[in-house]
C-alpha cells in the first residue's frame, strides 16, 4: 500500500481527470441532486459560456433567500449585453440619449447617433429539457426561491450592485430549454403580468 502511494506521487498524471470523475468527487454538490438535471445544468452552462459569451456563470443548488434546496440546480450569469430592457426603462433611456445628443450637438460635436447601451445585468437561468412537462405550481416554486437579482460570486461586486436597476421590479428568469439534438432555446419568464417589449 505504501509503495503504491509513493509510486503515485512520483508519477505525473498521464491525463487530467475527466469532468465526470471530478464531478463525482465534488463534495460540494448535494447527493440529493439528480445527476440528470445536473448534467443538464452543465450543458446549458457550456452553451451559454461558449456559444453566447456569458461570463460569471454559477451553479446554485440552494435558494439564496431561504437556503432550502432548489427543486433542481439553477444557473446565474452575466450576458455580454443587456438581455432585457423593460419598455418603460427603454423610453427613459431614449430620452436620456436624446438629451445627451442635443448637448453634444450644442458643443459642436457631430455625434448624431442615439446610443443606448445599458449595462448588462446578471440573470437567473432555469435549465430544462424540452421533453419535460411543467406546471404552474412547479414554476412558482422556482420563483419563490429566487430574489430579484442573482447573488454575485464575488462579494466585492455585491456592494457595487447595491444600486440595482430601479426598473427591475419583478423577478425574471431565463428559461433554457434543451432539445435532444442539443439545440437550446431561451425564453424570458417574468413573475406576474409584465407588459411586453416593443421590439
Amino acid at each position: 500500500m505504501d509503495i503504491e502511494t509513493a509510486r503515485r506521487e512520483h508519477l505525473k498524471p498521464a491525463v487530467s481527470p475527466s469532468p465526470l470523475q471530478s464531478l463525482l468527487q465534488d463534495s460540494t454538490l448535494p447527493s440529493t441532486t439528480h445527476p440528470g438535471v445536473l448534467t443538464l445544468a452543465f450543458q446549458i452552462q457550456h452553451n451559454l459560456q461558449y456559444q453566447h459569451s456569458w461570463t460569471g456563470l454559477r451553479l446554485h443548488t440552494h435558494s439564496p433567500l431561504t437556503n432550502a434546496p432548489f427543486p433542481r440546480p439553477l444557473l446565474s450569469g452575466l450576458p455580454p449585453h443587456r438581455l432585457y430592457v423593460h419598455p418603460d426603462e427603454q423610453i427613459e433611456l431614449l430620452k436620456e440619449a436624446e438629451r445627451k445628443r442635443k448637448a453634444s450637438k450644442k458643443e459642436g460635436g457631430g455625434n448624431d447617433v442615439l446610443k443606448i447601451e445599458p449595462e448588462p445585468e446578471r440573470e437567473w437561468i432555469l435549465p430544462t429539457r424540452l421533453s419535460e412537462k411543467w406546471t404552474l405550481g412547479r414554476l412558482s416554486e422556482i420563483f419563490d426561491g429566487i430574489g430579484l437579482v442573482p447573488p454575485d460570486a464575488e462579494t466585492a461586486r455585491q456592494e457595487e450592485d447595491g444600486q440595482v436597476n430601479p426598473w427591475r421590479t419583478t423577478k425574471r428568469i431565463v428559461l433554457a430549454a434543451a432539445d435532444s439534438d442539443s439545440t437550446v432555446v431561451y425564453y424570458i419568464v417574468h413573475d406576474g403580468v409584465v407588459k411586453p417589449r416593443q421590439n
Binding site: 432585457y84 411543467w134 404552474l136 417574468h190 406576474g192 403580468v193
Partner: protein, 311 residues
Amino acid sequence: MAQTLVTEPFPISRIANRYLIFDVNIISHIRREHNICGVLIGTIPNLSQQNVFLGIPMQLMPEETRLLVEHGHAYIVEDADAHKTGFMEMSREDRLAFLRQMDKQGVEMALDAKRRAADKQEKVLKEKGLERKIQEKNLRRTDITPNPATGETSVGPSDEKSLSDSMPPSPTVGSARGQKVAPYFITPTTSHPPLPTPPLSPAAELPKVPHTYPLFRHLQSKGYFSTPGLRFGCHYTAYPGDPLRFHSHFLATGLDWDEEFELLDIVGGGRLGTGVKKAYLIGGEDPEAKASGKEDGSDPVRAFSIEWAGL
C-alpha cells in the same frame, strides 16, 4: 355622445346558453365602466352574409357574464321564460296601450313618408325651374289648413277613435292636407317594450365558466380588456385599454395549478407572441393561496409572462 344613464343591475338575456345584451346603452356602459367588450353578433336579417360590421345583440363570454353578475352589476334573465310569462300574463290595459302606441307610430310614419314625398316633388320642381307651380300649391295648402272645423285636418281625434278597440286601426285617418292617409302597420321588433324590464331573480345560478376563469378575472382586476383569443391560439387576448385604442399586450392561456403543459407550447406561444409584439401569458389559481387568501382578500392567481430572450 350623450351619456345615457344605465341602472345597475341590468339584465343579461340567456338564450340557448348564450348571454346576450340587446340594449345599446348597456353595451356602451359595460365597455366604458367595466372593461367588457363582448362580441357583436347581429346581422341584417335579410343580408346575413354581411358580417363585416355587425350590430346588436352583443354576445358575452360566460366569463364576462359571470364577472358582471359576481360584482352585482348584472343579473341573468332566462329570456324564453320571461317572454312566455310576460306575454301570457299581460293585462288587457297594457295590451291595448301598446296597440295604441303602435297605431300612433304607424300614422306618424305614414305622414312622414307623405311629407318626404312632397318635399322631393318640390325639390325636383325647383330644379326644373317650375317655382310657380310650388307657389300655386302652397296657396292651395294655406287655403285648407286654416279650416280646422272640418275635422279632417287634424289627426288626433279620429286616431283615438280608431283605437278604442283592440282591432287594427281603420284606414280613415285624415292627413293635414285633407287627404286620406292609410296608417302603416308596424311589426314590433322589440320585446322591451311592450314587456317591462324583467325583475331581478336572485335564485338564478351563476353562469358556468371554463377553468380559465381565474386568469380572466385576474386580468380584469388589473384593468385589462380581454377578448376571445382563438385568433392567436390562446384563451384571451388582453389589451391594456380599449381595444380600439390599444394593441393587445398578452396572449393569455389559463391553466389549472397542477395541469401539466408542454414546454414546446411555451416556446411556440412565446415565439408567436414576440412575433406580434405581445407577450405570452400563462396563469392560474393557486388553491392553497385561495384558501389562505380568503381572509386577507389577496388574489390567489399567479401569472407568468413569457417573451423570447433573443439569444
